[in-house]
C-alpha cells in the first residue's frame, strides 16, 4: 500500500505546468508562477531546458526562485547575459524561443491576456502593472503556456483590455492578424488544464486535477465551460516532484 501524498492546489498547478516543458526547449519565463514551474522542470525531468528571462539572462540556472526578473542569481548562473535590445530583438523577435511561459491577471475564453487594467483604461477600477515583455512573447514565441490561479474574476468571457493576444476572437482570427506562431496551447490553473478547441480556439477543460469537480471548475470560469472530447484526470505530483518543488521554495524566502 503506497502512502497518499498531501499537497496543495498551488503545488499541483506548478507541477502540472512544469511537466509541459521539455528538455532542450528554449523557454522565455515570466516571473512568479511560470518561473517556479520552469525551475521545477529543470530540477526534475528537463535539466537541459534553457531558461531565458527578459532581463537578458540566457541559460540561467538559479538555485532559488528569483523575486524579480533581474535578481543577481539569474545573472551569476546564466550561460550568457545580453542587453535588452539583444534579448528582445536577437532572441525573442528572431523566433528563437520555443515556449513563452506567462502569468496573467486575467485570461479570457480565447486565451487573451490582460495585465493592464480592470475597468475602463482612462478611468481604471484597478490599474495593473502593464505589458512588460508579454505582448511580444505572446506573438513571437512558437507557443505560449499560461499559468494562473483560476476564479470567476481571473477567468472572464472577455478581458477588459488585451495586453497580449491569444486567439483573439477565436477561429482563425489570430492568423488573420498576420501572426504565424501558435499562441496559447495550454492554460494551467490550480483546478485543471485548459486547451484551445482545434476549430473554435475556445479554451476547453482537458484535465481536472485530482479531487476537483467539473462543477468547481465551471464555478471558477466566467463563461460556459466546455470540456475537451477526452477529459482526463491530472496525475498527482510524485514524491520526487513535490520534494524538488519544496526544496526550491524553501531556498526562496525573502523576508
Amino acid at each position: 500500500m503506497t502512502q497518499e501524498l498531501t499537497y496543495t492546489a498551488d503545488e499541483m498547478m506548478t507541477v502540472a505546468a512544469s511537466r509541459l516543458l521539455g528538455n532542450n526547449m528554449f523557454c522565455f519565463v515570466g516571473i512568479g508562477l511560470p518561473s517556479a514551474a520552469a525551475n521545477l522542470a529543470r530540477a526534475t525531468h528537463a535539466p537541459d531546458c534553457v531558461l531565458i528571462y527578459e532581463s537578458g539572462t540566457i541559460g540561467t540556472k538559479p538555485k532559488r526562485l528569483p523575486l524579480s526578473i533581474g535578481d543577481d542569481e539569474l545573472a551569476e548562473t546564466a550561460e550568457v547575459v545580453v542587453s535588452l535590445p539583444e534579448i528582445f530583438n536577437y532572441w525573442l523577435q528572431a523566433g528563437r524561443i520555443d515556449v513563452g511561459f506567462l502569468g496573467a491577471a486575467q485570461v479570457d475564453r480565447f486565451g487573451n491576456i490582460n495585465s493592464t487594467v480592470i475597468g475602463d483604461y482612462n478611468h481604471p477600477q484597478v490599474r495593473l502593472p502593464g505589458a512588460g515583455g508579454a505582448p511580444e512573447i505572446a506573438s513571437c514565441a512558437k507557443e505560449v503556456i499560461i499559468v494562473l490561479r483560476q476564479n470567476s474574476r481571473t477567468f472572464v468571457e472577455k478581458v477588459d483590455f488585451i495586453t497580449s493576444v491569444g486567439h483573439l476572437t477565436g477561429g482563425d482570427s489570430r492568423q488573420k492578424l498576420g501572426i504565424s506562431t501558435k499562441g496559447p496551447t495550454t492554460v494551467i490553473t490550480q483546478l485543471g488544464i485548459l486547451t484551445p478547441d482545434p476549430q473554435t480556439k475556445e479554451l476547453t477543460l482537458s484535465s481536472l486535477h485530482p479531487g476537483v469537480s467539473l462543477e468547481q471548475a465551471q464555478a471558477a470560469t466566467g463563461w460556459k465551460l466546455q470540456t475537451a472530447p477526452e477529459l482526463r484526470q491530472s496525475e498527482p505530483p510524485t514524491s520526487l516532484e513535490l520534494e524538488a518543488l519544496r526544496e526550491i521554495q524553501s531556498r526562496s524566502r525573502y523576508d
Binding site: I31, G32, E54, S55, G56, T57, P66, L67, S68, I69, G70, D71, D72, L74, A75, E76, V80, V81, V82, S83, L84, P85, F88, N89, L92, Q93, N112, T116, Y121, N122, P124, R127, L128, P129, G130, A131, G132, G133, A134, P135, E136, A138, S139, C140, F161, I162, T163, S164, V165, L168, R174, L177, G178, I179, Y254, D255
Partner: protein
C-alpha cells in the same frame, strides 16, 4: 564632445536636470539609480516627463512627491510584491497631481531607445500585434516593409533630455563600466542630450568582465561617486538586492500619510543614500 566631469550628485542634478525635462532613470532591476532619484526629489524638480521601462519604487517616490507630470513606461509595479500605490493613486485619483501616461511594451521601449541612440526618428518592430495598446497610445503606428509588404509596428525614438544611471565603476578619465544585467543603459545614455552617472567607486583601471558595457567619457556629462547609490536594488559585485525593503515598501507606500512621513524622514532630511546594504 567633452569629457565627463566628476562632481557631487547634488551639483550634477542641479546643473543638468531642469523643471519640465524628459528624464530617464534606467536600470533593469539591477543598478537602479535610487540615490540620484532621491536627489531629484530633494531638489523638488517639477513637471518632469519621467521615462523608464520598469517604473518601480524610485518612480513611485518621484510621482508621490509631485515631481512628474507624465510617465512613459512599459511595466509599473513592485517586482515580486505587487502594485505601486503612489503610481496607482496618481493615475486613478490624480494625487498629488494628475499624471499623463504613455504606455508601451518592453520591446517597444527598448527599440525606441535604440532609435534614439542611433539618430533615427523612429523604431520598428514586430510588436503590439493584436493588443489594445495602440488604441490608447497614438504614438504606436505602423510602417510597411517596402520589399515584402509586411506591416510592422513603429514607435517614435526616445531622446531624453537627461538620462541617469548607476554603474559599478568609473576610471580617472571619466569612462564608466557596468556589468551583470546591463539592460538598456547604453542606449538610454547615448539617446540622451545629457547623462548623469552615479558609481560605486573610481578605479585606476577597469578589470574586464564578460558582457561589461563601457561608456566612454565623451558620452557622459557628470559622474558622482555614490557607494550604495542603487539601494534597495543592487550593484553586482558590490551589494545584494534588499528584497525586504521592496516588501516593506508595500506598507510604507499604501497610505499618503505613511508615505510622506517616510519620505520626510529618510529622503528629505538626509543628504546621503537613506540606507546601505553592502556585501
Amino acid at each position: 564632445m567633452s569629457m565627463a566631469e566628476i562632481t557631487s550628485l547634488a551639483q550634477a542634478v542641479d546643473a543638468l536636470v531642469q523643471d519640465g525635462d524628459k528624464v530617464a532613470l534606467e536600470g533593469f532591476t539591477h543598478l537602479i539609480p535610487f540615490a540620484a532619484g532621491h536627489e531629484i526629489i530633494r531638489q523638488a524638480k517639477r513637471k518632469l516627463t519621467l521615462i523608464r521601462m520598469t517604473p518601480d519604487l524610485i518612480y513611485d517616490q518621484l510621482i508621490g512627491m509631485g515631481c512628474a507630470q507624465k510617465l512613459i513606461f512599459s511595466w509599473g509595479g513592485n517586482p515580486g510584491v505587487g502594485s505601486l500605490h503612489r503610481l496607482r493613486e496618481a493615475v486613478e485619483k490624480g494625487w498629488p497631481s494628475p499624471l499623463a501616461i504613455e504606455e508601451h511594451s518592453h520591446a517597444g521601449m527598448v527599440n525606441a531607445y535604440v532609435a534614439g541612440a542611433s539618430g533615427l526618428p523612429f523604431a520598428m518592430l514586430k510588436g503590439y500585434i493584436g493588443t489594445d495598446l495602440p488604441r490608447y497610445n497614438s504614438r504606436i503606428a505602423t510602417v510597411d516593409c517596402p520589399f515584402t509588404g509586411e506591416k510592422l509596428a513603429a514607435v517614435p525614438a526616445l531622446n531624453p533630455d537627461v538620462t541617469v544611471i548607476h554603474a559599478q565603476q568609473a576610471d580617472r578619465a571619466g569612462n564608466v563600466m557596468l556589468w551583470g544585467i546591463v539592460g538598456v543603459q547604453k542606449e538610454a545614455v547615448l539617446a540622451a542630450k545629457r547623462a548623469i552617472v552615479t558609481v560605486e567607486e573610481v578605479v585606476e583601471h577597469f578589470e574586464p568582465h564578460l558582457n561589461a558595457v563601457v561608456l566612454p567619457s565623451w558620452t557622459i556629462s557628470a559622474i558622482a561617486v555614490v557607494p550604495g547609490g542603487s539601494h534597495p536594488s543592487y550593484a553586482l559585485g558590490y551589494s545584494v538586492r534588499d528584497n525586504s525593503f521592496y516588501t516593506a515598501w508595500d506598507n510604507i507606500s499604501r497610505e499618503r500619510e505613511s508615505f510622506l512621513a517616510w519620505m520626510e524622514q529618510h529622503i528629505l532630511m538626509s543628504k546621503q543614500p537613506s540606507l546601505t546594504n553592502s556585501i
